[in-house]
């Protein structure tokens, strides 16, 4: 480019010398063409250099004419024509440099936003943005650190081999949120540098990246040699956009994480709904079966009594069967009624009265021991127990359900231990412990849910609606108490009921 422009300058000079009408040859205006061209192509340096060359090329033609004729109008015009090309070259070049710098800065800003919005891990996005900053600001090295603690390793992009050191200028800037400017790192007393000094200055600039809500990191830039005018302002603008981009990237990341969490929750809820739906279907089938069994027995024994002449002792036995099955039917209906109350969110109706827990437990154990002679039952009151204010029926049903479960899920000969003690804050703790099959840890959170029956090969024959524990929890909570369970497969279960005295 320079060679071609110089050739044009020489040709113009040769034409002017041949024409011989210097210093005001009309050809002198042609100098502006290659000078302006050089300025537009290469900027102020090229324009200024070509302008200076144009002035130098004219000198041997203009100056002798001025020397011969004196300072005439033509001579002044000749002097102006000497000064014009360098002036035009520099000014046009400066304008071009400025517009080019603005365009490059704008491109860099767009590219930075594009880099930070990419679908990639944040460190990779920062690396790409740092490369754009490096090009956009003509920097030798760029460090892009995200984070505000100097002690913590900050996430970011740094030249190969360079890592953030505590006590460095960037660490200081990260912890204070202040900028650092150094016209030359080698002679700046604040820095302790190793190695031999470089022949050109090494400029350094650290800018906190702050989009208005406090610094999110720091942009560190190093240059070797001359730095173009306006670079500091451009760097500040880029730091602001980086801060905005990083904030946006973080928000997008957070939003994405939130959406993922929401999706997971919706999927879990859908899965739970499906389980409940399936459980209800199973429940209906179980309920039908549970109702049909006592009804069949009732129907059968009643028919026998009506249609045949049954001896009195057999009739009495049949009537006992009818009585047992009717009670069973009644219990099922009661549970279903309680369930329907729970379904609509109505708390069980309680009639609170002072009760002796020990007496209740002992009575229930006596009944269970009579019905289940294959199991062993034990009872222990640890210290004096305060009287409870509770609903008698509700307390009985809590005990019956817990003991019934303990018996159902324990092997023959297994021991069911019941214990109670006064707990702190006027509470009473009741424990029902068995030596049964236990409950897998993963199932424990669901054990008090409605319709839940834990699948287990050893207990497939155990009948039930999956409502007992759900009812127990509802009754205990209606008393202002709580229930929890500790269990492991093969290790039995311990149900702990806490009731206010």
């Amino acid at each position: 480019m320079v060679t071609a422009a110089l050739g044009v300058l020489l040709a113009i000079t040769a034409a002017m010398a041949w024409q011989g009408v210097v210093p005001i040859s009309p050809l002198r205006h042609l100098y502006l063409v290659p000078v302006a061209w050089a300025a537009l192509r290469g900027g102020a340096r090229a324009g200024g250099l070509l302008g200076l060359m144009a002035a130098f090329f004219q000198m041997p033609l203009v100056l002798p004419a001025i020397e011969r004729a004196g300072l005439t109008g033509a001579a002044v015009e000749g002097l102006v024509s000497l000064a014009l090309p360098p002036a035009v070259g520099v000014l046009a070049g400066l304008l071009r440099d400025e517009s080019r710098a603005r365009a490059r800065r704008l491109e860099a800003l767009i590219e930075i936003e594009r880099c930070l919005a990419r679908e990639a891990p944040l460190p990779l996005r920062l690396d790409a943005a740092a490369a754009v900053v490096c090009r956009g600001l003509n920097a030798t090295q760029v460090g892009l650190l995200v984070g505000t603690s100097a002690e913590m390793p900050a996430l970011g992009s740094a030249p190969p081999g360079a890592t953030l050191t505590p006590g460095s200028a960037v660490a200081w800037s990260l912890s204070t949120g202040r900028s650092v400017r150094s016209p030359d790192l080698a002679t700046d007393g604040r820095f302790t540098l190793a190695g031999s000094p470089a022949p050109a200055p090494r400029r350094g600039l650290i800018l906190p990246m702050d989009a208005g809500a406090g610094p999110v990191g720091a942009l560190a830039l190093e240059w070797r040699g001359e730095v173009a005018a306006g670079t500091d302002a451009a760097a500040a603008e880029i730091a602001l956009h980086l801060a905005l981009g990083i904030e946006n990237a973080r928000l997008t990341l957070r939003q994405r994480r939130f959406a993922e969490e929401l999706e997971d929750k919706v999927a879990a809820a859908t899965r739970r709904l499906r389980e409940i739906d399936q459980a209800k279907s199973e429940f209906l089938s179980v309920v039908s079966h549970e109702l049909r069994t006592p009804l069949t027995a009732l129907e059968g024994f009643a028919e026998l009594l009506l249609t045949r002449a049954v001896p009195p002792e057999r009739a009495a036995r049949f009537l006992r069967h009818i009585h047992v099955e009717a009670r069973r039917l009644g219990r099922i209906v009661a549970e279903l009624l309680d369930l329907s109350r729970l379904e609509v969110g109505v708390a069980p109706d309680l009639k609170r009265e002072p009760l002796e827990l020990a007496a209740h437990v002992e009575r229930q154990l006596e009944l269970f021991a009579g019905v289940h002679p294959a199991h062993r039952f034990s009872w222990k009151a640890e210290g004096a127990l305060p009287a409870l204010r509770a609903d008698r029926d509700a307390l009985d049903r809590v005990l019956q359900n817990l003991l019934s479960n303990a018996v159902k899920y324990s092997p023959r000969g297994g021991e069911v231990r019941v214990a109670a003690r006064a707990a702190a804050d006027g509470l009473v703790e009741l424990r029902v412990e068995d030596e049964g099959v236990g409950i897998p840890t993963t199932e424990l959170p669901r054990i008090f849910d409605k319709y839940v029956r834990i699948a287990n090969q050893e207990t497939t024959s155990v009948r039930g609606l999956g409502l007992g524990l759900s009812l127990v929890r509802a009754l205990v909570e209606a008393h202002g108490g709580r229930i929890d369970v500790e269990s492991a497969p093969g290790k039995g279960s311990v149900f702990r009921v806490i009731l206010p005295a």
Binding site: G143, A158, P183, R190, A200, E226
Partner: protein, 276 residues
């Protein structure tokens, strides 16, 4: 990347070095040398030759000494080098004044300076090293040749000055003086120590402007410059262009050598101009 890795203390400032005092001492010695040389000059005979040599050695040795003081921050090693260089310059000047080809001794000064400074990596900071781009040597030589050639053409066309080498010995002696003293000391001080120092603080144009202005002052005060107004005006234009070009070459190449070559080439052309 030093911003990330180098220890940083925000309140620490570089310790002030006794540079200004040392520069004043060297300035006083330069003035003393010039005054003593002039006194010797007035004695006539051999005293005149000795006086001229003392003046030249004081000025150029002083420039080199100031450059060393600024760069080496007043270290005693710099003083020792400065004394030896001043001694070598005095010897070269004496030889130049006493023998027709004696000035060729100036050609030994640049290698001597390189030899003396070899143990001081700090001097890399002022560009006292070979250029990273060998092409910059050609560019430097081309800049000096262009300016020198332009000076010859313009001044001969404008003022009718002759372009002539009166005696080969005289011409080569003058060129040797430029190689070993004039261009060397000017580049070492103005582009090396001063421009490099200010470039680190003020940026290129500020540093180039001030170092160029000081170069012009140095040459306008030089009694060897013709006193004709047109010669002085021309000197301002060409020396300013030369100094600015040398600063650009120093910044572009990172070395003093291209600018030094430009100066040598320019003065080699200038020595062929007969100004009356």
């Amino acid at each position: 990347m030093d911003l990330l890795t180098a220890p940083f203390e925000v309140d620490r400032r570089r310790r002030a070095t006794p540079v200004v005092g040392a520069l004043c001492v060297v300035g006083a010695l330069m003035l003393g040398g010039v005054a003593g040389g002039q006194w010797l000059e007035r004695q006539g005979g051999l005293g005149r030759e000795l006086g001229l040599a003392v003046e030249g050695a004081a000025v150029h040795g002083g420039f080199i000494a100031q450059g060393l003081i600024i760069t080496l921050a007043g270290r005693s090693a710099g003083a020792a080098i400065a004394v030896r260089m001043a001694g070598a310059l005095l010897a070269a000047f004496l030889l130049g004044h006493l023998a027709p080809w004696g000035s060729l001794a100036f050609l030994l000064i640049p290698p001597l300076l390189v030899h003396e400074c070899r143990g001081h990596p700090t001097l890399r900071r002022i560009g006292f090293l070979a250029p990273a781009r060998p092409a910059s040597l050609l560019v430097g030589f081309a800049v000096g040749t262009f300016l020198g050639g332009h000076l010859l053409i313009t001044s001969s066309l404008t003022f009718g000055y002759a372009i002539s080498v009166v005696t080969v010995a005289g011409y080569l002696s003058a060129v040797a003086y430029d190689v070993g003293a004039n261009a060397l000391s000017a580049e070492f001080l103005f582009r090396g120590a001063l421009f490099s120092h200010w470039w680190r603080h003020w940026g290129f144009w500020g540093a180039a402007a001030v170092s160029t202005a000081l170069t012009l002052v140095r040459y306008l005060l030089d009694p060897a410059l013709p006193e004709a107004p047109e010669a002085r005006a021309g000197a301002i234009v060409y020396l300013a262009a030369l100094a600015l070009g040398a600063a650009m070459l120093r910044a572009w190449s990172g070395s003093l050598v291209p600018g030094y070559l430009a100066s040598v080439a320019f003065f080699a052309a200038y020595r062929a101009l007969v100004v009356w």
